[in-house]
């Protein structure tokens, strides 16, 4: 187990591993997204009360879910980076932040677009929405902090600390709909047990969901690779790689 852990953590090994897996991840992501979105936007029956407006769900929910999961990932990577001083974890941390920020933005925008027909307004200062906005600020904060440093490692450690402390916001976003009376609807799809949504709506949604996660994985892996190349630019394996 530990040997595997350490081999994975060694930059050159990880780089090659990523190189091998990336194509597959990318292709599956695109396939699933295509299925999910075509299935959702074209074939799924219109909602009996929302008509076609509900179709935004196929973008909104996956991105929203991703925005939360990616932050958690960032925090975990941060913890690993601090505890085991692992370079790779540092790279994952800094690589994840912009992707997560992007997902959050999409979730916010789609949510707002959806809000107009549903709640009659683009924005309300409601717990779910605001805490999601706060999540965006946390992402941007991490990015800003990382850029403010000159030394990459110091930057990563600082970001790690910030990410870990900021993770308290994730449960707040997730459960805001239960804790406060919120316009936003409560969990129906992403909850354990039997989801309360018809199958021909749900299946494409799950496809889009998995697809989105894979897409994020792809983006993050690529960014990690770049980060590794840059940090190790003076080391042997990069030299021979670029040769």
């Amino acid at each position: 187990m530990w040997t595997w852990f350490h081999r994975l953590a060694s930059p050159p090994h990880f780089f090659r591993l990523a190189e091998r897996w990336l194509p597959w991840v990318g292709v599956t992501a695109l396939a699933l997204l295509a299925w999910g979105w075509i299935g959702g936007l074209v074939f799924a029956p219109p909602d009996y009360q929302q008509k076609d407006a509900f179709r935004i769900i196929y973008v909104h929910v996956p991105t929203a879910a991703a925005s939360l999961s990616l932050y958690t990932l960032m925090a975990v990577a941060g913890a690993v980076a601090l505890i085991w001083r692992m370079k790779l974890a540092e790279c994952v941390l800094v690589a994840t932040a912009p992707v997560g920020a992007g997902m959050t933005v999409v979730a916010l925008v789609t949510g707002m677009l959806w809000g107009k027909p549903m709640w009659g307004t683009y924005w309300v200062w409601d717990a779910r929405l605001t805490s999601e906005l706060v999540l965006l600020f946390l992402y941007l904060g991490v990015i800003g902090l990382q850029q403010a440093f000159e030394d990459a490692r110091a930057a990563a450690r600082a970001c790690a600390l910030l990410a870990i402390v900021g993770v308290i916001n994730v449960p707040i976003v997730k459960y805001s709909v239960e804790w406060w009376n919120s316009l936003h609807q409560t969990s129906t799809i992403l909850k354990l047990g039997k989801p309360t949504i018809t199958m021909d709506m749900a299946v494409p949604l799950y496809a889009a969901l998995v697809g989105t996660f894979l897409l994020c994985a792809y983006a993050i892996l690529r960014r990690v690779q770049n980060e590794l190349l840059w940090r190790e630019r003076r080391s042997g394996w990069v030299a021979e790689l670029l040769r």
């Binding site: 601090l82 902090l145 110091a154 600082a158 600390l161 910030l162 308290i168």
Partner: protein, 221 residues
Amino acid sequence: MRALVAVMCRELRLAARARSDWLMPPFFLLVVVTVFGFGAEPNDPRLSAFAPAILWVASLLAALLTLERLFRADYEDGTLEQMMLAPLPLYLSAAGKLIAHWVLTGLPLVLLSAPLGVALGLDGADVRVLVAGLALGTPCISAIGGFVAALTVGLPRAGLLLPVLVLPLIVPVVIFGAGAVRSAQQGLPVDAPLYFLAAILAVCLTLVPWVLSAALRNAVD
């Protein structure tokens, strides 16, 4: 223990030397609330509805103004290095500074909020909730703010990065704090949000000194 006292007493002395330093945050609070009253329609009945938000945001910002100063001077004149080399563990000296910071900025705000709340048209019960909330909330602000201050201490113009990093982390505190007053105004039970605040405070007190000292070491190296 003696050492911890030494740290705090130095902070207080520094504040005392910087003349009416410890007067400023509450004074600042006053002015903001005034400006706000101006900005709003003169004697607007809706003011009281916004009073909790105004007071919370104002005290938040008042605290923020003082946060950047928390470690910067020590960092620039080399005191921080010395503290790390001192026998007293860094997280203790840090804790000392945080406590002093709260006594200097948080405490006055707590005391001041009562009259201001009344001035903004809150009634007795609501004011009590407001004060309780601030009493629990301001230490959290000092702690979280101190942590971020430590994160950014080495950086050029940290003062601008700081509030942007602090405010998102503080939002929950403000929610519960202002929320409590609102529920009080609507006659709803207020203990739930106050318990939440207490919980956050507990977490801060236990965790912050450690992450904070880690951040400081990171900044100095």
